[in-house]
């Protein structure tokens, strides 16, 4: 037992893997620039090269323990494109059903566990209450049980279709690997019904607690959390929100359509900018250009994820979600809505849409057809697949030799699209809370809120204890001398 040691673990335990924000003040003591640094996972593309492409739907699920289904689906669709094989009608329905169940589950979880502490418990509540337990205290004890039940049922959908609840393994080029029985279809219908009802309940709670509170409305619509940017997301043939498939649509800060393109054309529209102070890449619209961390029509910075998807679309394809969509834009003063905190609200609208989709697809008797795969016959070369992950548009792009061995892999994960806006949101919150060298006490909170609205995925593939990535804020004078350090650890 000589190697057994004692250790004290508490929020003071200092880790290398923490997020760091450096805020530089000017001579007047106001914010000059803010820099955000986040540890990044590296080397995935290289790790994949030399492997058979058909392994990708299973390997990519291991990138991230939070959204494996998004990677699985993007990867499976990339294989369709790689072998130029169209999935059967039943296979598409099965995939869509699974994907919508995943989106509903992920959104519900985010809202109650991560968004709720800010909007339901409130930004000024004591830190010890700003967590899921505080949310339950406010919404009611029964909500905890309901969240667990909704999650359990939706994950059961993933298990029935995907093979496993966490890491799905059903996707094949041209279809899926497993049929659905009538008995299973009944369970899927029940899950859909439960999820639709739960999401309506969640939107009602949002209405009662957030929308009827003027302070919250002021916070959501206030200038601290506002950026006039471009928006991007997938839409169906009627320009309605779609998570699984469609065209990529971009609207400008006035809501006018800027571009609509096929996923295969993404490189004609998206570029990645590199900054000397960060390993992170910052996406921007190639046809507008990189103008620095600034918003407005002249800057190519765009946003993705729930509010962005609602902004680019003409509506929702299901009736209850459409009602909720209309209410959101009515309350926020029209489309597009530029309010970062409204991402939380949009997330609930999307969860309702996804749940209605699950139910609609589960009720379709075609779901149990045995016709679930078209076998590929073409020689592979290059494939591109795109889905809307909970956190935004997710791109997979593979190149192979003629035997299907990977020679090139490029992924743009959802959060990379939002990275530049996140940096801007941090800087804006800092600017509004630091004046003449005076740092407001609420700074850390307000900056964390800007982050959480985007639900960013950062180095979340690691699971090392204690299991959280703390955030540290360092404020420096123009000569780079540290003035103040804020952190939770």
């Amino acid at each position: 037992m000589s190697r057994m040691r004692k250790i004290t673990i508490d929020p003071i335990t200092r880790l290398e893997g923490h997020g760091k924000i450096e805020i530089f003040l000017n001579d007047a003591g106001d914010v000059d620039r803010a820099y955000l640094q986040i540890p990044e996972l590296r080397g995935f593309e290289k790790f994949c090269e030399g492997r058979p492409a058909e392994e990708m739907p299973r390997i990519t699920t291991m990138i991230c323990g939070v959204c494996p289904t998004a990677h699985h689906m993007a990867s499976t669709k990339t294989l369709d494109d790689l072998w130029k094989v169209e999935p059967t009608s039943t296979a598409k329905k099965i995939r869509r059903l699974m994907y919508n169940a995943f989106m509903a589950e992920d959104h519900i979880l985010h809202f109650f566990f991560l968004g709720g502490p800010d909007l339901i418990v409130g930004p000024t509540a004591p830190a010890a209450e700003r967590n899921i337990l505080g949310v339950i205290g406010k919404v009611g004890l029964e909500v905890g049980g309901k969240v667990i039940e909704a999650r359990k049922r939706l994950r059961n959908v993933l298990r029935i279709i995907g093979g496993k609840p966490v890491m799905p393994s059903c996707g094949l080029p041209g279809g899926v690997s497993k049929t659905i029985s009538e008995e299973e279809r009944k369970t899927l219908i029940e899950a859909g019904e439960y999820a639709v009802e739960f999401c309506q309940f969640a939107l009602k709670a949002f209405d009662d607690i957030v929308l009827r509170n003027k302070d919250y409305i002021d916070l959501i619509t206030g200038d601290i959390y506002k950026h006039r940017t471009y928006y991007m997301g997938l839409v169906d043939e009627n320009n309605k929100v779609n998570f699984y498939d469609g065209m990529i649509r971009v609207v400008d800060p006035d809501g006018k359509e800027f571009a609509t393109f096929r996923p295969q054309e993404y490189l004609d529209h998206i570029r990645e900018h590199v900054e000397p102070w960060s390993y992170m890449k910052f996406c921007y619209l190639k046809n507008v250009g990189w103008k620095g961390f600034t918003d407005g029509e002249g800057s190519g910075i765009y946003r993705v994820a729930p509010l962005a998807r609602l902004n680019v679309a003409d509506g929702m394809a299901t009736p209850l979600a459409q009602e909720a969509y209309e209410k959101l834009f009515e309350t926020l003063g029209g489309k597009p809505a530029h309010n970062t905190l409204a991402f939380h609200w949009a997330r609930l609208v999307e969860a309702l849409y996804a749940s209605e989709r699950v139910l609609e697809l589960a009720r379709d008797p075609e779901l149990t057809s045995p016709d679930i795969v078209n076998l590929p016959t073409e020689t592979p070369k290059e494939g591109i697949g795109v889905v809307e992950a909970p956190r935004g548009t997710l791109f997979h792009h593979y190149q192979t030799d003629e035997t299907g061995i990977l020679t090139g892999v490029n992924l743009i994960v959802a959060t990379t699209n939002n990275m530049a806006p996140i940096v801007m949101s941090v800087e804006k919150a800092a600017k509004s809370l630091i004046h003449k060298g005076e740092v407001s006490d609420g700074l850390l909170n307000m900056i964390e809120m800007a982050f959480r609205a985007y639900d960013p995925c950062m180095a979340c593939g690691t699971h090392a204890l204690p299991g959280q990535m703390p955030l540290e804020i360092i404020i420096c004078d123009p000569q780079s001398n540290e003035i103040k350090r804020l952190s939770r650890f």
């Binding site: 190697r3 057994m4 040691r5 004692k6 250790i7 673990i9 508490d10 929020p11 335990t13 200092r14 880790l15 290398e16 893997g17 997020g19 996972l41 590296r42 080397g43 290289k46 790790f47 390997i59 291991m62 323990g65 939070v66 979880l109 985010h110 566990f113 991560l114 830190a127 010890a128 700003r130 967590n131 899921i132 337990l133 339950i136 905890g144 049980g145 667990i148 994950r155 609840p165 966490v166 909170n445 964390e448 982050f451 959480r452 985007y454 639900d455 960013p456 995925c457 950062m458 979340c460 593939g461 690691t462 699971h463 090392a464 204890l465 204690p466 299991g467 959280q468 990535m469 939770r488």
Partner: protein, 154 residues
């Protein structure tokens, strides 16, 4: 009494895979009706779902320590993690201690009565590779023996 041995980690993310590799070894050695060996590439609530319904759970996970002692083995109880219960921390995922608190509140009858955590000090956890640091690979048999000892004392 039902026991679960759970190796936590991502097998393709370098040292983060330590829990997975230990669980793989243990699965070869342990065979009993009332004991399960599993690995889980998940955290927070995902872990909660894995451990629900067991009486005793032994978790093997990676830990990043200040001193970066790769291969250091720490035997912890839940009480050691209590200070990390979420205080509106980093977005996107809740930590283990917070998940347990949540479980105790809403699924108390399914929560294990006893939990032991073997936390192993790790180095490289941000670059995708199936290989662990050599020093950590050497630790695997030691951890396996400690877990077996823990099981036999049950």
């Amino acid at each position: 009494m039902k026991t679960l041995i759970l190796g936590v980690g991502n097998p393709i993310l370098g040292d983060d895979g330590i829990g997975f590799h230990v669980a793989q070894e243990l699965a070869k050695r342990i065979n009993g009706e009332n004991i399960d060996v599993r690995d889980a590439n998940t955290s927070g609530l995902g872990l909660l779902e894995n451990i629900a319904g067991y009486d005793k759970v032994i978790i093997i996970d990676a830990i990043e320590t200040e001193s970066r002692d790769i291969g250091g083995i720490y035997k912890l109880g839940l009480e050691d993690l209590v200070n990390t219960v979420d205080q509106a921390s980093w977005p996107h995922g809740i930590n283990f201690a917070t998940a347990i608190e949540f479980g105790r509140k809403f699924a108390a009858n399914q929560m294990p009565k006893e939990m032991v955590i073997f936390a192993i000090g790790v180095g490289q956890v941000t670059k995708f590779t199936g290989e662990m640091t050599a020093k950590l690979t050497e630790t695997v048999p030691k951890v396996v023996n400690l877990v077996l000892k823990e099981v036999s004392s049950t």
